[in-house]
């Protein structure tokens, strides 16, 4: 299908303004950066929910196809050492799955509302037959102030539809930004996404809580500059593989 291709960058400038270094540098972190890429124990793992298809594919050594939704744009082809989310994730997975074919496909730009994203998903799933969909969402819906209940309902419905196609789903919520007067607006969609995750047993990677822990001065994990997308990507890849490995 036209419009689908290996993808994607995250949106580092928007999500992590303090990440001044090019994202590529984050992909091969200096020791100082690596030491910053750490988390409170409770945030290391995905929230509750299983990844049965991923576990099966990893166990059998079949090709592991990951579709990324809402992970941003890519100007030109993603090179091996740039910081784009798709390239980073593919590398992080390949490192841990020696020899197993990994394909990461980006779908749609960042900042899609769930309503916009589901169209892309419905079209892409029959074509790509992915093992796992990683869906970063919430920012666009928060800004467009779509109905949070409808937002959560659509996510649950999408998860049920994907499960019926034997496709796993991991949700990634939106980033935190310190000092916003509108934080309550954003928080509403973090909570709605969390509700959808609990209601539908969808594993959630808690980016909001993680970036808040990094940015909040009182947290023992607060660090300046805050770690960037490369760190989040590694943590996400590890969390997915841990969940698919131990089934917890």
């Amino acid at each position: 299908m036209v419009g689908l291709a290996l993808a994607v960058a995250s949106h580092p400038a928007a999500a992590q303004p303090s990440e001044a270094a090019p994202a590529g540098r984050d992909a091969a972190p200096a020791p100082a950066a690596a030491s910053r890429c750490r988390l409170p124990a409770g945030l290391h793992d995905l929230s509750e929910g299983d990844l049965p298809r991923t576990r099966e594919v990893l166990r059998l050594g079949h090709p592991f196809v990951v579709v990324l939704v809402g992970m941003g744009s890519s100007a030109g082809p993603a090179s091996e050492d740039d910081g784009r989310f798709g390239a980073l994730l593919a590398r992080a997975l390949e490192r841990r799955l020696a020899g197993q074919p990994v394909r990461v496909v980006g779908l749609g730009p960042e900042a899609l509302t769930v309503k916009e994203a589901v169209g892309r998903l419905r079209r892409a799933v029959p074509d790509l037959e992915p093992t796992l969909v990683i869906w970063r969402t919430g920012t666009a819906d928060a800004l467009a102030m779509t109905d949070p209940d409808r937002f959560a309902h659509t996510l649950r419905r999408a998860a049920a539809w994907l499960a019926a196609q034997s496709v796993d789903l991991v949700l990634v919520d939106l980033p935190y930004h310190a000092g916003s007067a509108q934080e309550d607006n954003f928080l509403r969609y973090v909570e709605a996404l969390d509700t959808a995750g609990r209601g539908g047993s969808i594993p959630v990677f808690r980016r909001y809580a993680i970036t808040r822990a990094w940015a909040t001065g009182a947290s023992p994990f607060a660090t300046q500059p805050t770690p960037g997308e490369g760190c989040l990507t590694r943590l996400l890849a590890e969390a997915i593989l841990r969940r698919a490995g131990d089934g917890s």
Binding site: G3, A13, L143, S180
Partner: protein, 387 residues
């Protein structure tokens, strides 16, 4: 309305275009209290389908006399000039909403705002995004109808002569392109995002072609809707079933994923259910005195006025919808404030149309005094922005 009739325009097209513009504006502010009342909630298609169908009708009415009077070359030039006007209007809208969003992100010191309506690449990857914007490869969310319409006007010199001479052939070819695009997922690409056009021109051109054929028949005084007795009840039944089944949202998630085009409601590819729905709606609106009823309710002729100035009203509405989105977010607006903001946006669009009408009246009068009524009539038509 009497004035519209004297200018030779089909007043009902202007009325429904005005209504579609108002609904598109309301729909572009997601889940606001007024959006519950737009047509999108009561059927498979929404105001965008109605707008494109009427764009086809209006294009036939505006360009067929030119084609017959001035020939192919000049008509092509006029259609492409109009396409260029739309292209420029689209670029201005993108520039304005980008500037608005950029300023809000700076003033409120929150980089998350830069992701508004998919503008991220404009700020993040400016070089690539600028190239994408001018080549119509980067289309921000909610600001993606005009690029499709530019394509339709570029195709007009090919489609209109066929609509006039071989309508069956036009519909067959156009329908085949529509079906091929839907069945095989063929669309134009985005740049720099890995994505595709939200309004796929290869799909939506079919609805425009149907509008063109209908418009040619209207111009020639031929019946547009077949006279079959069962047609109106069948259309009404289909609309009722659609209104009922769309509430559940089940069709949005086809159980057989491979058949998303045939049984789904994916707006990008204008699937059969959406197409049939807008055509059934058009039959009902043509057969029943709905336009007369709306005109009776809208005695001041506001909808008709908006429809006559559809391009400037649409562009203003596109920018205002994002402004209202931003305002309600920053204000954390409750339902009452939201309604006031939406109505305020509509009032500004009506005010714009009134001002343009006033300016045109002035120009028409001056033109009539200076050059005589023939030139004045043409000036009035050109200014009214048909198609």
């Amino acid at each position: 309305m009497a004035e519209a009739a004297t200018t030779g325009r089909e007043w009902r097209i202007d009325l429904f275009r005005g209504l579609a513009l108002a609904m598109i504006f309301i729909n572009h502010i997601p889940d606001n209290p007024l959006s519950r009342f737009t047509s999108a909630n009561f059927g498979f298609s929404d105001a965008a389908e109605g707008f494109v169908l009427m764009a086809g009708l209006a294009a036939a009415m505006a360009y067929l006399p030119r084609l017959e009077r001035n020939g192919m070359v000049r008509t092509t030039g006029r259609a492409w000039r109009r396409a260029f006007d739309l292209y420029v209007a689209h670029l201005l809208v993108v520039l304005l909403v980008s500037a608005m969003v950029g300023w809000v992100a700076l003033a409120w010191d929150d980089p998350r705002f830069l992701a508004w309506i998919n503008l991220g690449p404009v700020f993040d990857e400016t070089a690539a995004a600028l190239f994408g914007v001018v080549t119509l490869g980067h289309q921000p969310g909610f600001v993606n109808i005009l690029p499709m319409y530019v394509c339709l006007l570029l195709l007009l010199p090919l489609m209109l002569p066929l609509a006039a001479s071989r309508p069956g052939l036009l519909l067959a070819v156009s329908g085949a392109v529509w079906a091929g695009a839907g069945l095989f997922g063929i669309n134009l690409p985005h740049y720099p995002n890995e994505d595709e056009w939200f309004f796929n021109p290869l799909s939506w051109q079919f609805l425009f072609a149907i509008g063109l054929v209908a418009g040619v028949r209207i111009m020639r005084g031929q019946p547009v809707v077949p006279g079959w007795r069962w047609l109106l009840p069948a259309c009404l039944a289909f609309l009722a079933i659609a209104a009922f089944s769309v509430q559940d949202g089940l069709l949005a998630w086809p159980e057989i994923p491979e058949l998303w085009f045939l049984i789904g409601l994916d707006k990008t590819y204008l699937p059969p259910l959406r197409l049939l729905h807008v055509l059934a709606l058009a039959v009902v609106l043509a057969r029943l005195p709905v336009a007369e009823a709306i005109a009776w309710l809208d005695r001041s002729g506001v909808l008709n006025l908006m429809g006559r100035y559809s391009l400037p009203v649409f562009c203003a509405g596109s920018v205002l919808a994002i402004a209202v989105q931003i305002a309600r977010f920053l204000l954390d607006a409750g339902a009452g404030t939201e309604v006031m903001l939406v109505l305020g946006g509509l009032a500004l669009q009506i005010g714009l149309a009134r001002m343009l009408e006033w300016l045109d009246r002035d120009r028409r009068t001056a033109g009539a005094a200076a050059r005589g009524p023939v030139v004045a009539a043409d000036g009035g038509r050109a200014a009214s922005g048909s198609a």
